[in-house]
């Protein structure tokens, strides 16, 4: 589930461009990278937990692939939302086929317009936000507190985000955070060279951002990346 944000920022749009131009390697890389996303999208439509063996997973992966080919970049639409929507449509088609046992392909050539994608994205994001808030509450943090403790200055924020990234990417540190509900400042300090005060002052913010980085919040993450 872990996705390195650094890497993402630099390479996703590049990979996407290459994949759309027919670069198979880039397509493979994106598929691998977004497999957790595809799994989560599929399981959400089905409303149950899934494993790699389920047929629906391959439908989802195919849909993602299809999205790679069909996506036309625009300023307002995110690829992730587009892909999410394609996955859902294909799965719904698949389920219908299963039920009716007849080829019903009406939606296959249906064009997806921007409003659809945007709305889909917003709805997906709303789900994520609700889960995110619940997870924050597990740390005893309210969303207002995050807003109140959010570093205003860009450089301070970037430092805090860097700390959050370290938290999210190190399994043992993250396990500690989850168990104790607070940040192991000395370990983080050692790992990042960040000042202890930076970490202490922005504790709430760092936890919130680390949750987004680490948790199943594809759309929120996607929003932050661009």
């Amino acid at each position: 589930m872990r996705i390195s944000m650094e890497e993402d920022k630099a390479s996703v749009s590049d990979l996407l461009k290459r994949a759309m131009d027919g670069d198979l390697e880039a397509r493979g890389a994106l598929l691998a990278k977004y497999k957790p996303f595809v799994l989560s999208a599929v399981s959400k439509v089905l409303g149950r937990f899934i494993t790699d063996c389920d047929d629906e997973v391959s439908i989802g992966l195919q849909a993602f692939d299809e999205a790679l080919l069909k996506f036309r970049p625009s300023k307002s639409t995110s690829f992730l939302a587009f892909a999410g929507l394609v996955i859902r449509r294909r799965l719904v088609d698949f389920i219908r086929q299963q039920k009716q046992k007849r080829g019903n392909e009406i939606s296959l050539d249906e064009t997806l317009n921007i409003e659809d994608v945007d709305q889909f994205e917003a709805v997906e994001r709303r789900d994520e936000i609700e889960r995110f808030k619940a997870e924050l509450a597990g740390f005893g943090i309210r969303l207002e507190e995050v807003a109140e403790n959010c570093p205003r200055r860009l450089d301070a924020r970037e430092r805090a985000q860097q700390a959050a990234r370290l938290l999210a990417e190190d399994d043992s540190i993250w396990a500690y955070v989850q168990r104790r509900g607070h940040i192991p400042i000395s370990r983080l300090e050692g790992a990042s060279g960040l000042h202890r005060k930076t970490v202490e002052r922005h504790r709430v913010y760092i936890i919130a951002i680390a949750l987004i980085y680490r948790g199943p919040y594809f759309y929120l993450r996607d929003y932050l990346e661009h």
Partner: protein
């Protein structure tokens, strides 16, 4: 007021919490058409403060008051001047002393030597924040060539209370941050300098004023004397800071900033009984008052040069010998080595000024 966009995370009425693309969580006022739904990207206003008309009017009134206050204080520093909280002296070699009020705003400024006065004429200080004033003074001093790359530069920032026994803690904290910023400023111009700060008590204030020496030099001299150095009045008045300390390295070693104001005052008392060198020879300086003709000055400069060199043999260590004719002759030879001649020149100019007996309380 700029409107920005973010994903709405939580909403109540027309305020909400948004997450922006650059990772800010903000509590904001939402603009644009409702209803607002969580998950959508929304526009918001920069500030959550609801600026009703009343508040706007209040803000405007406040602005007028603040504006007129700052205008008044900048043109007539004395007019609204509160009591002087503390005096902060800056010795670069132009030496200046700034009086600050409880808001750490400069409310009086005086040059403690000719160079100091010239510097103050260039740099506006009254009505400004102490921090900004000091940094500008340092910048101007660099521009004027008082400090440069490759030289042994030193800056001493000293504070003494205006009233009461000691300088309040917040001001000391401010001064140490000023000190850091001065260091940074000099670093950025790749000028190496020892920047020290020191704080004294009321005793130091009184004594420094009495002798018309900057509290910084006074404290430094006391510290040096307590470590066994012997200093002449001229050295204390006009010597380079590094030389008073007996070398630029020792100046750092003194850790003046660490000494408690009480310690400095104690030192002062300790020396009170004994006759301080620089006290005993203070009379000639006083006699300089009024001797303004250029001839006199020239004579004075020459004279000074000798004295000055006498106290600083080539190594820069304080001389253990008392001033004497022979000594002067000896060291004149070392003068031709020229190691300190630049410093001398500059220091000399301050001499006449110091004799005048300035008083900053105007």
């Amino acid at each position: 007021m700029v409107s920005k966009k973010g994903v709405l995370m939580q909403v109540s009425g027309n305020t909400g919490v948004v997450l922006t693309r650059n990772g800010q969580f903000r509590k904001v006022r939402l603009i644009g058409e409702g209803p607002y739904e969580v998950g959508y990207e929304v526009e918001y206003q920069e500030s959550l403060v609801t600026l009703s008309t009343v508040a706007l009017v209040a803000a405007a009134c406040l602005a007028v008051v603040v504006l007129s206050w700052s205008v008044l204080t900048s043109f007539r520093p004395g007019l609204l001047q509160g009591r002087v909280l503390a005096y902060v002296s800056v010795d670069i070699n132009p030496s200046v002393q700034l009086g600050v009020d409880e808001r750490h705003i400069v409310c009086s400024a005086e040059g403690l030597n000719e160079d100091g006065r010239a510097l103050l004429a260039q740099v506006p200080t009254s009505g400004r924040k102490l921090h900004d004033a000091v940094l500008d003074l340092v910048s101007a001093a660099v521009k004027a060539g008082y400090m440069s790359h490759g030289q042994e530069n030193a800056i001493l920032i000293a504070s003494v209370p205006g009233e009461g026994d000691s300088v309040p803690e917040p001001l000391l904290a401010n001064i140490s941050s000023i000190k850091r910023d001065v260091e940074r400023e000099l670093n950025s111009r790749s000028i190496s300098a020892v920047v020290e700060s020191v704080s004294g008590g009321s005793e130091l204030r009184t004594k420094a004023r009495e002798l018309n020496i900057s509290p910084g030099r006074m404290a430094l001299a006391l510290k040096a004397l307590s470590e066994g150095a012997e200093l002449s009045e001229d050295q204390v008045r006009r010597g380079l800071l590094g030389q008073i300390a007996g070398g630029i390295e020792r100046l750092k070693g003194f850790k003046l900033g660490d000494s408690k104001p009480k310690q400095i005052d104690e030192l002062l008392k300790q020396f009170e009984g004994k006759k301080l060198k620089f006290q005993s020879s203070s009379t000639p300086a006083a006699e300089q008052v009024g001797s303004e003709s250029s001839d006199d000055r020239r004579g004075e400069r020459e004279n000074l040069g000798k004295e000055h060199v006498e106290t600083h043999p080539a190594g820069g260590k304080p001389s253990n010998a008392k001033p004497s004719e022979t000594k002067i002759k000896d060291s004149r030879a070392s003068d031709s080595n020229g190691s300190h001649s630049q410093g001398q020149q500059r220091n000399d100019e301050g001499r006449k000024a110091n004799g005048r007996g300035e008083n900053s309380k105007r």
